[in-house]
């Protein structure tokens, strides 16, 4: 047979380098579960597998290439083709998204397959289902605990109670539950005068800074559950730093971002929460507010997972107006210049061992804290490397995953111990839990240091 004539034009694919953070719209015409066409971008190079922290420690886990493009391509129609149960071993760190040189929508494929697995194959009477459901609905437990934080703190770490939780629910007793604050962030916010108080303070800042007092600088804060119930100091720092730069802050009604729900395949729960969040954020975005999150997984959910998984009115507008808190300031303000003149003394004049969360990495934010603070007088900061912390939200809380979680985290622990600083820093609340658990260090959020450097 004769040779074929070659195609006349050469039109190379532009690789997705991860610099542009655009949710992948694989299947724009329909909102059902079919992601097979997403497999077209995969050329099997296995870079995702070599970057997967779970595959590195779990020989039974087939890795993201199988979970994503291979499994979807082998699947045929939802009813007849089961999703392999190994999808529940994925920690949803989403490093594969970043690793892929070819733009395969890996985490979307995993999230969708996991959702399908949980809704169609997992027994709703199983312990695993209820354990996962309780873990992923952390907001509900936290809300309850915040009603009587002291009792909750004592009860949650009460030995025999933890033993029972381990035995009956499969929640590891190796970890200490994070303490609940006696005053939530939202309670504090109301006491500070809410939006009206913030506006006054922002106007005062603008005047002090020599800016137009009527400048259109306003943000809607997505604090997430953890800043509200466990670390209100992060939320307070956000508000004070933003007001320092002349921004009016509003704190809209909000629910869980959905991150732990995606990771556990609870897509119905996640959608309910996403709908509430989008509904309150979309109105503000329309009025010119940008949405700011201090937790990198929250910003990830609003930016990428919502539009990839849900077809909700306003989702794209909210997604494109969502930013992480440091990122936003670095875009709009000359933060480094102000920090150049700053001098940190007092409690946070320390050396920090900084860990970039995987979800920060996915948003291209892995260097921001080090770049911001390395020249600040009175503090030191050192990046502890690019490994995953291993906890991945709820993953490290599951008894059967605990050892793997610690094995993944071992590299980070070791690097933290080798670093000069004996205080940890990260944007992610669960990475912080893992860092503290593995090293015993106190762990702080970059906003807290920014507050210490710039505010009063």
């Amino acid at each position: 047979m004769s040779d074929a004539e070659s195609p006349p034009e050469f039109d190379p694919e532009a690789p997705n380098t991860g610099e542009d953070f655009e949710p992948v719209d694989v299947f724009p015409d329909s909102d059902d579960f079919d992601l097979r066409p997403g497999a077209d971008s995969c050329y099997k190079c296995s870079t995702c597998d070599t970057n997967c922290p779970v595959a590195e420690v779990d020989d039974e886990f087939p890795g993201p290439k199988f979970q994503g493009p291979e499994q979807w391509r082998l699947k045929q129609s939802e009813e007849d083709y089961d999703v392999d149960d190994s999808v529940m071993d994925c920690s949803n760190c989403m490093r594969c998204d970043n690793a892929c040189p070819s733009g395969v929508p890996l985490s979307q494929m995993h999230n969708t397959a996991r959702g399908e697995y949980v809704s169609e194959q997992m027994s709703k009477f199983s312990v695993e289902y209820w354990r996962n459901r309780i873990l992923s609905n952390y907001r509900t437990s936290a809300w309850l605990a915040s009603k009587m934080p002291r009792v909750a703190n004592a009860a949650m770490n009460f030995g025999p109670a933890r033993w029972v939780m381990e035995k009956t629910m499969g929640i590891t007793s190796e970890r200490e539950f994070p303490a609940f604050a006696t005053e939530t962030f939202r309670e504090w916010w109301r006491a500070e005068g809410g939006a009206a108080g913030s506006r006054e303070r922002a106007v005062a800042s603008r005047e002090r800074r020599g800016e137009d007092p009527d400048a259109d600088k306003k943000v809607a804060y997505f604090h997430g559950c953890y800043s509200n119930y466990n670390t209100p100091e992060v939320g307070k720092a956000m508000v004070r730093v933003y007001e320092h730069f002349g921004y009016e802050v509003v704190v809209p009604e909000q629910k869980c971002s959905g991150t732990p729900m995606f990771a556990n395949g609870m897509l119905d729960d996640a959608r309910r929460h996403a709908e509430a969040n989008i509904s309150s954020m979309a109105d503000l975005v329309e009025q010119g507010y940008d949405a700011i999150a201090s937790c990198t997984s929250c910003s990830m959910a609003l930016r990428q997972e919502y539009p990839e998984l849900f077809d909700i009115d306003g989702v794209d507008e909210v997604s494109s107006h969502t930013f992480e808190s440091l990122e936003y300031l670095r875009i709009h303000e000359d933060v480094r210049d102000e920090l150049g003149a700053a001098d940190v003394d007092g409690e946070l004049a320390r050396e920090f061992a900084y860990h970039a969360p995987c979800h920060a990495r996915n948003q291209g934010l892995n260097n921001q804290a080090v770049e911001l603070f390395r020249d600040v007088e009175g503090v030191g900061i050192e990046d502890v490397g690019d490994s995953c912390s291993g906890i991945s939200g709820t993953y490290g809380w599951k008894s059967e995953k605990y050892d793997k979680s610690m094995e993944i985290g071992a590299e980070m622990f070791e690097h933290m111990e080798d670093a000069d600083g004996k205080t940890g820093m990260t944007e992610c609340p669960t990475c912080a839990m893992q860092m503290e658990h593995g090293t015993g260090y106190d762990i702080r959020h970059p906003l807290e240091l920014l507050e210490a450097a710039l505010v009063e």
Binding site: A4, S6, D11, S30, R36, R73
Partner: protein, 575 residues
């Protein structure tokens, strides 16, 4: 006659193996010879449509009726080869309403269950259909794997005593006293299973009767005995998409035309086709524009095809035949019916019959008619049982779901394996040793590869056809060497190497027509991997074998690392 007559069947496609099975089941002594692999000719180069008959319901109602009859038979006897996807004849706004009505009434007249559905209902079934599709006729089209079907027919024939010789080309017909008395074949590598590098040889197979079932090649066989068989080979291009954009067969409801069908096939979708007469079934131009035209036309039905990844394209030749007095100019006007040419009657040459024309869906019916004819010649009164006895792999198919989980495979891999193997799944997949996935794209495990090797010797292309290994989106980039590795230790290094070379060549052949966009990236990655890790960029003229003994065998006193400290990526414990 004291013993059963010995029949030579030439051609290892659907017709030839169908005839071999039928005759063998009726107790005749059968030898089937095929110049390449099973399905080497037209059968291996089709779009895999199990016709409902809908495509012929207006123009050729006799063929349409045969199709629906055989469609029902194959669902029964070849359930592991058939996927009943259903089919749609879709009408675009510019397509003729009159023809749509003719199609519908034609289906009714031929007994083909047909139902009109709205464009909206059609899009509900197939979300990627164009939004301006008016309406559609739903018919029981299906998808069939021609490789699996032919291999199963050959296996059944063998079970009934037939001898199957692949890679055995007929070089002459033996004619004595105005009668064909046998065939002369050139065995590529001896008889039985193919083994690369084994010396072949010529064999005269003396028979009582010869059946020429070589389709587009029938004229060539005829020439050997001075017969004039006017086959009119017509080429058609088919393009394989990386994934299934549709799960239903999509036909365009138009009188005739190129590029009017999309068939979901296993993990892929196959676009078809064109129809152009060629002189030589083995040498005709394959042009990129034919592929481009097909995608451009079919995207009117499924717009996403425009941007979707194709993994390869191939051309097949139809064995069209029309009696010399008809004289159609356009190959699309030539009937799809089949003809039995009794050369004794027609050419006064006894001992041979040719079967020409026809189509894959009716292969069994053609086999039955030829077998009746052959039995008639020998006065044998035996009933045809091929419509009732399931093929190997299609027995007791209903129990499959029960043992899906038992083989320790991941769900989609187990599912695909069991679908391919049908009722043979248990005997093949139940293995004591480790059973790793050899081909990740298609989900093929070692056990299935080993089973195929048992059936086809060192021929990795035959293993590929039996298992689909190397037929996924990397087109063998990540598994050809693993498949070759499975030949070891049963076959030696040079045999393995020759089989591996042949497989790689075959894999590259079809990808030449898909080298743009994603498949170009794939091809470049495959090339880089194969060049840098497998010495595939060596001088092809130099075929000295490699002196492995000259290589360093590694440090003598290497410390053995226990399993527990080896990370999944092969690194040691996080370091």
């Amino acid at each position: 006659m004291t013993s059963a007559p010995h029949i030579a069947v030439i051609g290892g496609g659907s017709t030839g193996t169908g005839i071999a099975r039928d005759l063998a089941m009726r107790g005749l002594d059968v030898t089937l010879v095929e110049q390449g692999n099973l399905t080497h000719g037209t059968t291996g180069r089709m779009h895999g449509l199990l016709h409902s008959g809908g495509r012929y319901a207006v123009s050729d109602q006799a063929s349409a009726e045969e199709c629906i009859e055989e469609n029902r038979v194959l669902r029964d006897i070849a359930s592991h080869c058939v996927e009943m996807t259903g089919g749609l004849f879709v009408k675009r706004p510019e397509d003729s309403e009159e023809y749509f009505q003719k199609k519908l009434s034609g289906c009714e007249a031929c007994g083909i269950p047909a139902e009109v559905i709205s464009g909206e209902e059609a899009r509900k079934m197939e979300p990627h259909l164009a939004t301006d599709i008016d309406k559609a006729i739903s018919v029981p089209d299906g998808a069939v794997d021609p490789f699996r079907l032919v291999v199963a027919n050959a296996a059944s024939a063998q079970e009934h005593g037939a001898r199957i010789e692949t890679h055995s080309k007929v070089t002459d017909l033996l004619v004595e006293d105005g009668e064909v008395v046998g065939v002369e074949v050139e065995h590529d590598s001896g008889t039985g299973e193919r083994v690369h590098g084994r010396t072949g040889g010529t064999e005269e197979i003396r028979t009582d009767y010869v059946v020429n079932a070589t389709g587009a090649w029938a004229g060539r066989i005829g020439d050997m005995a001075g017969l004039d068989i006017e086959v009119r080979p017509s080429k058609g291009v088919m393009t394989i998409m990386n994934v299934r954009q549709v799960d239903t067969v999509i036909n365009r409801c138009k009188p005739k035309g190129d590029a009017d069908i999309i068939v979901p096939h296993e993990t892929t979708a196959i676009l078809g086709t064109t129809d152009e007469e060629v002189d030589d079934p083995e040498d005709y131009p394959e042009k990129q524009w034919e592929v481009d035209m097909m995608i451009d036309t079919l995207k009117e039905l499924v717009p996403m095809l425009d941007e979707a990844r194709t993994i390869r394209s191939f051309w097949g030749v139809r064995p069209l035949y029309e009696p010399p007095d008809v004289g159609s100019d356009d190959p699309t006007d030539i009937t799809r019916d089949y003809f039995l040419l009794d050369h004794e009657e027609r050419d006064s040459l006894g001992g041979m019959v040719s079967i020409v024309g026809g189509k894959f869906t009716t292969y069994r019916m053609m086999g039955e008619e030829i077998s009746d004819h052959v039995c008639g010649k020998f006065g044998i009164d035996a009933d045809c049982r091929t419509a009732d006895v399931p093929l190997p792999g299609s027995e007791d198919f209903t129990v499959l779901r029960d043992y899906m989980d038992e083989f320790g495979l991941q769900s989609p891999i187990g599912r695909r394996s069991v679908e391919r193997l049908g009722s043979r799944a248990e005997e093949v997949l139940q293995t004591d040793g480790p059973n790793p996935v050899v081909c990740g794209c298609e989900g093929v495990t070692r056990a299935e590869i080993q089973d195929a090797i048992e059936g086809s010797g060192s021929d990795l292309n035959a293993v590929r056809l039996r298992t689909r290994a190397s037929m996924g989106n990397c087109q063998g980039g990540f598994c050809c060497h693993r498949m070759a590795n499975e030949l070891h230790t049963e076959y030696d290094e040079s045999t393995t190497r020759a089989a591996w070379d042949e497989l790689l060549q075959e894999r590259w052949k079809g990808q030449r027509h898909a080298l743009w966009g994603e498949q170009l990236s794939q091809a470049m990655l495959n090339y880089a991997l194969q060049a840098t890790t497998q010495n595939r960029d060596n001088d092809p003229a130099e075929d000295d074998s490699i002196d492995f003994a000259a290589f360093d065998s590694g440090p003598e006193d290497v410390e053995v690392v226990s399993d527990a400290s080896v990370a999944a990526d092969g690194g040691y414990d996080g370091n």
